[in-house]
């Protein structure tokens, strides 16, 4: 049968973690400025 490919590891990557933080902060700043 098919082998399931589950990779839930987006917090494992430091570069991804920083990008996520930056993005969420920008979204928050945008919401509050509206």
């Amino acid at each position: 049968g098919a082998v399931p490919m589950e990779e839930e590891e987006d917090d494992d990557d430091p570069e991804n973690r920083i990008a996520k933080k930056m993005l969420l902060e920008e979204i928050k700043a945008n919401l509050s400025s509206d």
Binding site: E7, D10, D13, A19, L23, L24, N30
Partner: protein, 93 residues
């Protein structure tokens, strides 16, 4: 030629791909979509945008663990090409 239709398809594909990977933060996709809406029509139909989109899409499909890096990259590019309000520049001599 214009890449408008192709870019719209690629962007929709990117959004769909990312929405599955950012379920924990549902505000990310609408934010990316609003950045896209605010970008200039000329840029959205450009080969430059097609290249960025194609690269981000290929990368997110092969490295899902960096999804926010690619979303951030695309947001930055779209922000840089946000349609500006018409400035009262006097071009007439």
């Amino acid at each position: 030629g214009s890449f408008k239709t192709e870019n719209e398809r690629l962007f929709a594909e990117f959004l769909e791909c990312c929405s599955r990977l950012t379920e924990e933060h549902p505000e990310v996709i609408p934010f990316l979509a609003s950045r896209h809406q605010k970008a200039g029509a000329e840029f959205l139909a450009s080969a430059e945008f097609r290249n960025v989109l194609g690269r981000c899409l290929t990368r997110v499909q092969s490295k899902r663990s960096k999804v926010y890096v690619y979303i951030n990259e695309l947001c930055t590019v779209l922000k840089a090409h946000t349609q500006r309000r018409k400035l009262a520049l006097s071009s007439a001599p």
